[in-house]
Homo-oligomer: 347 residues x 2
């Protein structure tokens, strides 16, 4: 498949590291030293807290290389970590990357992966300051650790919301999950008829949500502009239902979500119907949207209600056992965190 294929063995570990760090520059003043020593050296902002988050992505579990281009995968690996930093209301500043790969990957493949990581770093103004590249017996595993900074008064945890607080989400939900469904369908078609061309036209928006998601640093910046400090915040990696319940549990509150308020893109809605999937279920439990879910006191209602970035999807209640989804027709049903497995059984 590669136009050009250089075996990693021909340039060795040090050669590979030289290739992938070539022209790698740091741009933040807090970065004193990037790659090339035993550790990176950072001079983080005085008076700020440091936030630290790590994620591991494994081939066959978190991604499928038969439809994930390596450049996109690199981009996504960085973004999902930056999303965690944003969920603390912090500004991401640096990342370090661990990479384990078998000898079926070429130098060009590793470069494509790093190109994607660099692109994400540039896009978010983050420095790639260190890494570890090693062999694996099989498959590809990526580990990213991100560092961010936040003023101690501005940090948002999962706990901290109060009964009566509004539950607010950025963007639209369910798209990443529908993108995955399209890719899985085309993979199946291809398996049955290897010559078939994938039918991906018209689905670019959903595919991009799955393959090349973005972290909502713009939301963190907008909240600062609005002088709006969420009482709690989390990013949506497992699905709206699961994350709302996390905020509820850690804030010792109940959660009430309104189905009709859940923001969904028309494209996602129509495609879900085409796949005989319930769009609400996709939004509630599909996951990987990397939108931010947060709570604000009711007196900030006016700041949020007509803001194009945000949707008010529910509120918190006193009763910790209250986990309710109010459906379009006004019925109350238990809000459940199904996660991917549960969803797969349903669909």
């Amino acid at each position: 498949m590669d136009a050009e294929r250089t075996e990693i063995g021909t340039i060795g570990e040090f050669g590979l590291i030289a290739e992938i760090t070539k022209g790698l520059e740091t741009t933040r003043e807090e970065t004193i030293l990037g790659v090339g020593d035993d550790a990176a050296i950072l001079n983080l902002k005085q008076g700020h807290h440091t936030v630290l988050s790590t994620d591991m992505l494994c081939e066959g579990i978190h991604f499928d290389l038969s439809y994930s281009p390596l450049k996109h995968l690199g981009y996504k690996a960085i973004v999902v970590n930056l999303s965690d930093i944003c969920a603390m209301n912090a500004t991401p500043t640096q990342v370090v990357v661990g990479l384990a790969l078998s000898n079926r990957f070429s130098v060009e493949a590793v470069k494509a992966l790093y190109d994607g990581m660099r692109l994400a770093c540039t896009r978010y103004g983050v420095d790639l300051v260190g890494g570890d590249t090693t062999s694996s017996k099989s498959g590809l595993a990526l580990s990213v650790t991100a560092v961010g900074q936040v003023h101690p008064d501005k940090v948002t945890r999962r706990g901290g919301a109060k009964a009566g607080d509004l539950l607010v989400v950025s963007g639209e939900l369910g798209g990443a999950y529908m993108g995955l469904q399209i890719l899985e369908r085309e993979k199946l078609v291809f398996k049955e008829a290897p010559g078939a061309q994938p039918e991906l036209d018209g689905h670019e928006e959903l595919l991009e949500r799955q393959l090349k998601p973005e972290a909502r640093l713009d939301v963190v910046e907008e909240l600062a502009k609005l002088e709006l400090l969420p009482s709690a915040m989390i990013d949506i990696s497992d699905g709206l239902a699961s994350e709302a319940l996390h905020i509820g549990a850690q804030s010792e509150c109940g959660v009430r979500l309104y189905e009709e308020k859940i923001p969904m893109a028309e494209k996602m809605y129509d495609t879900a119907r085409e796949f005989n999937l319930d769009p609400t279920m996709c939004a509630l439990s599909g996951g990987e949207d990397y939108e931010l879910l947060f709570t604000v006191p009711q007196d900030r209602f006016e700041d949020i209600r007509n803001h194009p970035m945000f949707s008010i999807v529910g509120h918190l209640t006193e009763d910790q056992d209250d986990r309710t989804l109010i459906t379009r027709n006004g019925m109350e049903t238990e809000l459940k965190a199904q996660g991917w497995d549960g969803l797969a059984e349903d669909s």
Copy 2:
């Protein structure tokens, strides 16, 4: 093999995380929030620099579970990262851990791994503040990222040494590599005669160097006590030769090493002979000793010469192309970074 075996599937991802984080406490005042949110929150010391290092360990490449107990493996995974922090002359403060494992691992296995990680954290006064635990299609991969702090005037890079500086190493070398040879031999014996009991008695010291190494935080503390700031420092993960050449290259100096000065434990020396291996080669290229190699100006000779922790093994020279090993019989030969592969071919 497990006395008790609980499948991870029976308790699920959240159940597993609850198990491994049970009773996990943070002890450092800089740790504001540990596990349980989108990111850890740290209040690092004002006026200090932050150092950050990451490592990835993969089954079948970095460890062999047929002879690495999981608790030891967890301990080692933390220690090898803390060693990188120590190499910056910094004090390690926090770690985050990524763990990818297939369903052949039980809950008890994961707990053993975490027990080892916790033990290392307690031993070094470091907080485990976050992690990510996921499935893998095959095998076990561990990623550890460590954070440390150091006063800006005290940080030691690989570059910075001057011609004439003494090259100093802590502890004794070659033991970890010999420990590995013993384990590999017993594995072979066991393969050929599965009932055979491994002959490990009397080799505890070498096995411990391989399976449960230590980071030389005590050396960092001793250097501070001696008010001795190395001009360059690196930890020995790939072998003395390779690391000495790194210091030389990044300091733009030549390197001269004296074979007779290389510190070796008697046990390592005798066992190498028994295996028909050259003890000097084991010390130069065996790796995984996690001792510290550093340079100091000649006027600190008296502080080092009789210090029980340290051995002066050579010095740096003006000529960048000078890479010399002076053998016991006074011959000069080129100092080469053979690494593990080179060594394996020799033996």
